[in-house]
């Protein structure tokens, strides 16, 4: 019988292997970097678009925020932090900040909870559930302007369907957009409604990704619906929820269309969100300097809050 071949002595360390057996690569630097160059080529279109429409305006805003400008928006005098100081002094801006915070607090939790509730309903396996899924997701396909106009009609004090409904229930009519307290609530309702479609769709996708066996296992253990919801669904959905909360949060800071169409920031600046006051400052009063400063402040605030959210919120997120 033939014996198995005896192996020659092996190298003992990586260093030794490198020293003894490594041969120089025959590829040139140009050949070695071919992957990076290809990657760059694919990135180029988006880099170009982002550069022209995102990064350039961002840095230009930062630049403008240190200047006085003329009516065309060209910088005239360098004023340092004067524009920021002006904001700090401005009662109107402080009011905007407060209104924005209230608006965010009104819309973000309500949007997420409503969307989660609808997603849980639509995730049940029932006949015709596809129909409901479509309906619940439908606000995703509506433009801000169209949604706002629909709500404008519904909020109308005399001919609107909301007051008609209240009247039918023998309740007093509400001046939805004219009352300074109600106006912000009305805008929030519209925003929540608009947010629902997207959040619903994403959350439903998240729910459908949860392994059915987890629930079956819990059922065998005897866990009830709400126990399962609390101990399985919400933790399993936490990455999706975190994403939705972050997106809704950033969107809330950027809500412009519905304010413009429904109230125009009024009555008496009651719905003058920061983003809307930026618009007014820049394109109605032609104060590009302070407007840019506001934009920078808003950007910094959103960035900071989002980072905080990642730092503290993400601890509760269970990525798989």
């Amino acid at each position: 019988m033939k014996q198995a071949e005896e192996l020659p002595r092996r190298v003992e360390t990586v260093d030794e292997a490198v020293k003894r057996y490594r041969i120089p690569s025959s590829r040139s630097f140009w050949q070695k970097t071919v992957n990076y160059r290809t990657a760059l080529l694919y990135l180029l279109p988006s880099l170009l678009l982002f550069g022209v429409f995102m990064f350039y305006p961002m840095f230009y805003s930062l630049y403008l925020s240190f200047f006085f400008t003329d009516a065309q928006g060209d910088p005239t005098t360098f004023v340092g932090f004067e524009n920021y100081a002006y904001l700090w002094e401005s009662a109107s801006f402080r009011r905007s900040v407060l209104v924005t915070i209230i608006f965010v607090l009104l819309t973000v939790p309500a949007s997420v909870i409503l969307a989660l509730f609808l997603a849980l309903l639509a995730n049940e396996k029932l006949r015709g559930i596809g129909w409901y899924r479509t309906i619940f997701a439908s606000t995703l396909g509506m433009s801000v302007a169209a949604s706002a106009v629909i709500w404008l009609f519904m909020f109308h004090p005399t001919t609107g369907v909301l007051n008609a409904a209240l009247q039918a229930l023998q309740l007093p009519a509400v001046s939805w957009l004219q009352d300074s307290t109600m106006a912000l609530i009305s805008i929030s309702i519209t925003t929540i409604w608009m947010n629902t479609g997207f959040s619903f769709l994403i959350l439903l996708g998240g729910l459908q990704n949860i392994d059915e066996h987890l629930y079956e296992s819990a059922r065998i253990d005897g866990a009830g619906y709400f126990y399962q919801l609390r101990r399985i669904t919400v933790p399993m959905l936490s990455p999706t929820l975190f994403f939705i909360i972050t997106i809704t949060f950033i969107n809330a800071f950027q809500s412009f269309g519905q304010v413009d169409i429904l109230t125009g920031g009024g009555p008496a600046e009651a719905t003058n969100l920061i983003i809307y006051s930026i618009y007014r400052e820049a394109f109605i009063y032609y104060q590009f300097g302070p407007a840019s400063a506001m934009a920078i402040v808003l950007f910094a605030a959103v960035l900071l809050l989002t980072l905080l959210q990642f730092k503290f919120g993400e601890r509760k997120v269970h990525y798989q």
Binding site: H213, R219, G222, S238
Partner: protein, 372 residues
Amino acid sequence: MSDGQVTLKHVTKSFDGSQFAVQDASVTIEQGEFFVLVGPSGCGKSTMLRMIAGLEELTAGEIHMHGRLSNDLSPSKRELSMVFQNYALYPHLTVEENILFGLKVRKVSKQEQRRRCDEAVDMLGMREYLKRKPRELSGGQRQRVALARAVVSQMPICLMDEPLSNLDAKLRAQMRTEIRQLQQELGITMIYVTHDQVEAMTMADRMMVLRQGEVQQVGRPLDLYNHPANDFVASFIGAPPMNLTTATVDNSGTLHVPGAPRPLVMDQPLPAEQEVQLGIRPEHLHLEPQEDSDWELPVHLQTVEVLGNETLLTMDAGGADWKAKIPGQWSLEAKRQAVLYLNSSHLHLFALDNGKNIGASLSAPVQEEVTL
């Protein structure tokens, strides 16, 4: 005491109202028994298990658990634990929390939780992994967590749905033994679903072979192996499967096998001019005459695989593809003629139409030595 006993009576399931997923299955699984449901994918074995678990409703029939009619009992009231194919571990919980999940739901006292967890963890050697998340575990470790979950529940019945199919071959063999030992230590009733006949053969006290929702045969593994009820069981159990070929019964009741020089005689008469299936296990074929060999079949060898301790031959036996498993190392040339020797009492006869085992025993008439 009927604790841990499961009885199925005419259990039937149909998802669409026209086709059977499970068709009229009846069996009594005794307390402490390791019962395996086995069959190819889509045969209804998982559906049957899920009906026992209460995760799926019965279309017709009765399920009795612990001696009580349990058709409408919710899963948690059936006093059973279940191990899923993908283990169904909660990814956001640590191993310990996973193990204790069911006990928390059932409001078992903290002390008792601790005690049972310790016991299960020691039994399965999981102590160092308690604080880890499932994603940090290997397949085999996850499997153990799933087992530990079943152990701490202390339920008299444990259901397992293909628990080993996600493991590699070596680990699977090891876990087979472990699960079997665990079941015996705990003395629980195990109902185990698998598509792997090796698992069924090695683990089961009794097994049920299913095919397209129909029960083919129920019995002890060796009984099924030695006395398959039909050609399906014959070819499903055993690796390589039983060799089958078509043979003809002539007017005088003797059996003619294509390619065979000598006919076979049956101990019971069959209607003449009928075709039947003749079956033989690969290990009952030999390349050299044995002491008890009384029949031979010339074949054409196709391939020869030497596996170290045995040699696997594939061949053309009168038009049918056969395999032979021969002990030892044989360096044979493929693509040539050979003669297989066998003992005719190892042959099985199956009806051609419904595949049922005819139950006839065969013998080879003594003849002058035939030179081939």
